[in-house]
């Protein structure tokens, strides 16, 4: 196969790495520091508070010459989305900090909601960086911030897109 990638999520003080898969429902925003989808129901976000920050990396394997020009955006919002604001960090970061539910000092930018048109996730923390063998993107950092207007109850899943160039 050509290049493919897997999503990793990171937790705790020691950059614990968990492979969470390639597609489908990979994780949920919750109040606790854990990977994947389980446990969010017993650790819901209280309306008016923030989710735990989410640290992700796309982990590439396979046969390729070069991977670059990584782009990330949210294709569809939660529904209902009243009182829910998703923040992230433009271009990602090479530095891991233990996730927190305090208002993120890392994820302070508005998440793109359409194709950004150019690279917005770096490799190795470097603009226009690329990999020529197995390797990962910089950390993609997300935090869901809520207001008391956020409704309790079911929401639809938000859908995210990751795009890259491979030669």
């Amino acid at each position: 196969m050509a290049a493919g990638f897997n999503w990793n999520q990171y937790n705790g003080t020691g950059t614990a790495e968990t492979s969470i898969g390639t597609g489908g429902n990979l994780f949920n925003f919750a109040a606790n520091d854990a990977s994947g989808t389980t446990g969010y129901d017993t650790n819901p976000i209280t309306a008016g508070k923030n989710s735990m920050e989410v640290y992700l990396k796309a982990d590439f394997i396979g046969t390729f010459n070069k991977i670059d020009n990584a782009q990330f955006w949210r294709s569809t919002d939660f529904s209902p989305s009243t009182g829910l604001t998703l923040k992230w960090l433009d271009n990602g970061t090479a530095v891991y900090v233990q996730p927190t539910t305090a208002t993120s000092s890392v994820a302070g930018d508005a998440i793109p909601t359409s194709d950004p048109g150019s690279e917005n996730v770096y490799f190795g923390g470097t603009a226009s960086g690329y990999i020529t063998g197995s390797g990962m993107t910089s950390y993609i950092v997300l935090q869901l911030q809520t207001t008391t207007a956020a409704a309790a109850g079911d929401t639809s899943l938000a859908e995210f897109t990751f795009q890259y160039d491979e030669s």
Binding site: M1, L26, T46, E159
Partner: protein, 219 residues
Amino acid sequence: MNVNKQIDNFLKIRRQSLLDLEKAVEGLYAIGVRFFTPSPDGVPDISAAQSLLPRYEKTLEDFEWKAIYTDKTELDQYGEKQSHFGDIDMSKLDKIQYISNFEIDTQNPEKRLVVTLNADGSFDFWNCGDQKLKDELSKPVEGKKKFILFRRKRETFTAGVGVNLGKANITPTGEKLTYARYYLGYECGKKKIIVCLYPNGQMAIDNDAKEGQSKKVSD
């Protein structure tokens, strides 16, 4: 509470949702978006409206490239060994082809789409490309060329959220949507030509698809 009214209302929502779902799926298929649902044995179950060839299930590529050298030997992307763009010997390259892993309805014996970039800078299109594209790209271009070949791929995942006692509406499947475009072209001095091959068989010039130089990183 008028329960019959409630039932009618939900029936209307349900009916409209099914119509919207069908319309959205048809639209995604027409663009060339692929749906993957992993099966228990790990083999992806690929849903597609297009006439994908069995080879697609092996390589998961809408188009595969082939380098043809001046000595008539060839290098296939998925030959005995898998190759990438960096494996192509540019010093003896005669042409690069992208060949589709789907067929179109045509009287031609070759029903796949084939786009050829010749070493002289001219393009040939088989079963694809409109006349304007052919007219614009059929002529040779003099000068040393730097060839461009890459795939732009997008994939999706979902994330839910639980607020207060609420819970995310988790879908039971690991469905993944992918969409890939294939680019072929060259730079020659200040001139740049990049053709984009879409997975629904459409072609277009997209000279802005690749800009600037990138830097290798260790991670």
